[in-house]
Amino acid sequence: MSDIVSIIQRVLGDVDLVLGWTATGAGGVAAPARFQTAAEAERAVFNATCVHNLAVHLPRLKDQTVGIVAKGCDSRSVAQLIQEREIDRDRVKVIGVRGLGGSIDVRKIWRFHGYGVPVDARTDSLFIDGKEVDRQEFLRQKCLGCRDMDPVIYDELFEASGSSITGIADAATVETALSETGLGTSLTAAEAMSAAGEDESRPLGELFAKMNSAERRLFWREQYSRCIRCYACREACPMCFCRDVCIMQTTDPHWTGAGVDAGEAEMMQLIRVNHLAGRCTGCGECERACPVGIPLMLLMNKQNQVIEELFGYRAGTDLEARPPLLTFDIKGDSRSEK
């Protein structure tokens, strides 16, 4: 296994800077960093707390050649950005990470063991405060049932040789259950949510899937009422590259008002879902970045599943593909009603 530092140092020969991680983030876990010199790169690390999708920085660094350390999931964002011509394949060097074995939900550790507790999150084991714990239990939801263990594109490969992942992803559960429309159950939104709050072993998605439309409406209203419009969901998203001209923050067009309430928050998320149709690679950064814990991936996962069903398309898996909503198929597009 060649180490991440020397790979970054090697790639620095070809690019202006490399996006990676250092161990010195807040709370004692990995934080994103930029390396421009071999000396700076000495500080680079890779461990299971390297959760961030660094592709978010690529559209902001278009005037430079950039190396990027990308997990399998992150590499899909890079691929999608290239496919959308947002970045130039020739100006980015991808250091793909293979066999990570899933990354760690640091928030979950903090929640149960206190903020800043010493964490040693290797790719095959997890130590909290010096004691080994079941790594599986603290994996991020999105890593369960991962379909992107290998990077889609890479120029260099970093073998992380982590443990294998088992378990059913929250997302997968939602997908299965949502495909039946979920109407006509007796579970109310409130019951479902308090069950989720009380019993962490039951994934929220499973409960969500059992709700009918009215219950879901209540569910979202309650979720969105927490939103403070910090836009972390948007800013953490590698595909949200409209940046300063985002339609969530303008009166022309006037899709949302400037107030902070559940209604505006709902419209914001409807915009995000709509704009990411066929573009979301499911990296989960929006949900991870949300400081008030709104389960945004419930919607994104659902949409990604529908798009795969309708158009046989997964964003960020094919540099040459035509995004499904920017094209059409005269004969093939199925329609459920006439």
Binding site: R111, G116, C230, A289, P295
Partner: protein, 396 residues
């Protein structure tokens, strides 16, 4: 000293909620463990262990607040054919479209008891007072803010521990800070010692004793409940105690911040420094919105159709590009580095200079919740180091 048994807290809140809205920290359903100050209603759980993700500034500066409503009224007598506009002047072309605007005031804010704030949250209120409630009459007085502030009672939970993100001890009294609190609860075995800091705090203690009488029948203190035979619990909520207030020995401090203001001024133009510090920042507004002292706002009209609307005041954040975007298209703070520089300078240089208070109480929320692990203390340390050795940017 008064003693409040832990198990009596719900009852205290119940009594308080008869007269005011009560807000208290609680873990929210389906939120992955997010704790926030929420409107407390009978039977709601409390979370006094975890730190709330957002500060308590919502109580005095809500994320969105209606300033007033307005509606346009038009026309009037429309008779005959053709219909004429009522405001038509003798000259033929009317001066206006005959419209009048009706303003409806916002509902006045009610009284609020905030339960379970921390010293850093409470202190932040006095920091905000320095801007919004300049009672000397010379400065700015914000009527909405003042009304809410006057109706707010803060019951603070004293910190006996800290976590690695706390740095309140860097500023004056740290965990022992009493400013902004009306009543402080010190955790002791089995409950809390209550110290009233202000008359409002005294009222809380009194209401704990007497509220039964206020709402119930004309029973005196100590009378037993005629139905259950139990002593009225109002008497037992705050007991006299001989215990001493515990010494809050927790320190959470960033060292070496002396002369920060001058040092920040020295590196103001060092844009490279600010770029390096913000390289991982993604420009979201969480740090400003979670901050108990950040207070920037936007005033905007929201229409419902073309005839009526409301004027709202909502939080705004200096980390947003649009915050300083000018209509011409020019933006004086075009990059993240410019915006972050302003944020730090506002907190540690301009506000102290103008308002005499540091715009930070060391609560650490911006550190705990930052999606990219940016630590404001690192930035301050770097700023101090960098300005100490100009030309050597240090390890960026």
């Amino acid at each position: 000293m008064k003693f409040l048994a832990g198990e009596n807290i719900p009852e205290l809140l119940e009594k308080l909620s008869l007269l005011s809205e009560v807000w208290a920290p609680r873990e929210l359903r389906g939120s992955g463990g997010t704790v926030m100050f929420e409107r407390w209603r009978s039977g709601d759980p409390l979370d006094l262990e975890h730190f709330a993700s957002l500060s308590a500034k919502d109580m005095v500066l809500p994320r969105t607040e209606k300033l007033f409503g307005f509606s346009y009224a038009f026309g009037g007598a429309a008779v005959g054919n053709p219909f004429g506009a009522p405001a038509e002047s003798a000259g033929g072309i009317p001066a206006t479209a005959g419209e009048s605007i009706r303003i409806t005031a916002a509902e006045p804010a009610g009284n609020v008891v905030l339960f379970g704030a921390r010293a850093c949250d409470a202190k932040a209120l006095t920091v905000l007072d320095a801007l919004f409630d300049q009672t000397d009459g010379k400065g700015y007085n914000d009527p909405q803010y003042r009304a809410r502030r006057a109706g707010l009672t803060v019951i603070t939970l004293a910190c006996v521990t800290s976590d690695p993100a706390c740095f309140c001890s860097s500023f004056e009294n740290g965990t022992a800070e009493k400013a902004g609190s009306d009543l402080i609860l010190y955790p002791v075995d089995g409950g809390f010692l209550a110290e009233a800091v202000t008359p409002k705090g005294e009222t809380v203690i009194e209401s704990g004793v007497n509220s039964r009488n206020k709402v119930g029948s004309a029973r005196g203190p100590g009378d037993s409940d005629p139905e259950t035979g139990e002593a009225a619990s109002g008497l037992t909520l705050f007991e006299e105690s001989a215990l001493e207030t515990p010494v809050l020995a927790v320190t959470a401090k960033v060292e070496g911040l002396e002369g920060l203001r001058q040092k920040l001024a020295a590196i103001f133009d060092d844009l490279e420094f600010w770029q390096a510090e913000t390289e991982k920042c993604i420009s979201c507004g969480y740090c400003t919105y979670a901050c108990p002292t950040c207070h920037c706002f936007n005033i905007h009209d929201e229409m419902r159709g073309d005839r009526e609307g409301v004027r709202l005041r909502s939080w705004d954040a200096c980390m947003f590009h649009l915050y300083t975007q000018e209509t011409s298209g020019h933006n004086p703070r075009p990059t993240l580095a410019h915006r972050y520089r302003n944020r730090i300078n506002h907190k540690f240089s301009y506000y102290p200079e103008n308002q005499g208070e540091i715009l930070c109480t060391g609560c650490g929320r911006c550190i705990r919740g930052c999606p990219v692990g940016l630590d404001i203390r690192d930035v301050l340390r770097q700023a101090v180091e960098c300005s100490a050795s100009p030309g050597e940017g240090g390890d960026r």
